[in-house]
Symmetry: C2
Subunit: 338 residues, 2 copies
Amino acid sequence: MNKKRTTLKDIANVLSISTAAVSKALNDDARISVKTKKAVKQVAKELNYQPNHLASALRKGKSNLVGVIVPRTNSSFFSSVVENMEEVLNKAGYNIIITQSNESFEKECKNIDALLYTQVDGIIASMANETVDLSYYEKIKSYGIPLILFDRGENDLNVDYVGIDDYKSSHMIVDHLVSQGCKRIAHIGGYRRTRIFNNRIRGYIDAIKKHDLPHDDELLIESSLTLEDGRQQIEKLLALKNRPDAVYVASDYAALGSLQVLKEKGIKVPEEIKLVGFGNEPFTSLVTPSITSINQHSEQIGKLAAETFLGYLERDVVVQSLNKIILDSELIVRSSSE
Amino acid sequence: MNKKRTTLKDIANVLSISTAAVSKALNDDARISVKTKKAVKQVAKELNYQPNHLASALRKGKSNLVGVIVPRTNSSFFSSVVENMEEVLNKAGYNIIITQSNESFEKECKNIDALLYTQVDGIIASMANETVDLSYYEKIKSYGIPLILFDRGENDLNVDYVGIDDYKSSHMIVDHLVSQGCKRIAHIGGYRRTRIFNNRIRGYIDAIKKHDLPHDDELLIESSLTLEDGRQQIEKLLALKNRPDAVYVASDYAALGSLQVLKEKGIKVPEEIKLVGFGNEPFTSLVTPSITSINQHSEQIGKLAAETFLGYLERDVVVQSLNKIILDSELIVRSSSE
DNA sequence: TATATTTGTTTAATCGATTAACCAAAAGTA
DNA sequence: TACTTTTGGTTAATCGATTAAACAAATATA
């Protein structure tokens, strides 16, 4: 019942030729006659031959698999990035293995091990927020396979990186809020140890200074940026003697949490407080009021990361260096800030 | 630079024993002395040995990989299912390969081929809405590896299935709406060719009859259930001479689309029209008004699907049959319907 | 002491595809 | 004709781990 799969040998037997000839015929080797090729392909089709990937990968030392690690797939940004990566890689004959870290360092390490174990030819990853210890990423490098980071990267790893200009994005947001007449702009950011959040914070601070606005310590908060964080941190800002008139939240999820609290307390957005998120998650346009946010060009990021990986294929020794591709972001203005 | 990976042979050379002994030592074979085992493990650690999965998988005829196909990862339902599957499978020594069909039949076929090519030991899938032709799924079965379907299944395939009781869920929704005083309940459903949507439609119709309410053809609409569909179909319902006082939408995304239109038109929800979605996506609790929906127990579905797969490991011949695990769903009542 | 059993390991085959090296026959060339 | 080149393959090794079968040495048993 559980019929054995067809192998090269089966085809070879039918035609009374060697398996080598069959292999070459299927791979369109120049040294095989057109006649033989035709016959081989014909029999292969008849016997429903499917190459055994494990065998060829073992022999060739190449699996044609690329591992992808994302904090979570359940986010339109990451899912769009992955989709676009897949498209590019599929075209080049690669399949991808998606894993999610759920923002957990431990899970991320397990994923890395699982991917290396599966003998992927490269890894494209966006780091978990928790991750500080880079040893597992160093391990990838020590395997001699390309490692490409996107969105959540780390300079110290000295590998390729694709992402947007977070520093500049903060400027765009602050500039916009100032143009809307805001004078006291708060920032609910991520933790500085994560590069992208640090850049957003630096951008925020510099932009505030640029506009000669108060750079008040109490207006800058670091958090994990979950929805719940957004709720808690806005409460802190609302409790201030001198409330802000605008809040720039470094994640749409947290921004949504903040919006919920503002609505619950009957504070009018954008009239009393203007709100800006980050990431352009679909719900930002769906909630009331819709939330102004930053579009990170997930399609571009996915494609560029995949192409960066493919760029390594031509070289036979992988030597990586810090090589950043920084894309411009786009401010999508919605009701929450105008 | 690109250092060769350590193999069994390297360890064997260091200790001047055979690779067979090394292999057995690492696998804790009873015939290897404790002394040798210790020495082997010691050297393996020193040389940072990592087994080559391709080689062992090829030899054992087992990859310890499970393929997962979902319509999209960018949905809390599917992402939660996958997460829970992964947890169960990881514990059993399996890794998963996630692929998404984007609701496209063509992409789904490609994914199936890619997974079979990677020599996965089994496939757990939720079918794309488009999929009618089952030949690619039959192909999986013909490979003799277990196929488990969840959420979007198909009786004709005669394989295991894990999902909720859609028929009963419709009854719960209609019962609830009736208890809120609704007299004209419309249903924006999926296409009947998809089993789950057909069941929801049947449930809707039977529940309507049960309550002696008008079962009006114009109140039942089939669509693709995207957000955009939700917008278009509600327009149709609003254009009716005799408008419904409640709309049960078979997907949260479409429900959201409908809600947007209702709000745009200034129609009060739930006062003028009550609205119920399906799937309990996170945004249902985030939008205003929050949307009543059905929780599908993604955690349970993920775990049970994974366990069903693991159940096949003990048997050496895979013989599958239609074996359904149907879970009860849960109605989460929110502002849009009360 | 002679034989049987156990212990611990080695040898060699194997999984299936690829490929370097080799070779015979056909065709080309001087 | 004699030698070279081209064509179209074949042979055999290889990727790395596993495992059936063989085997030597140590130990037990009669």
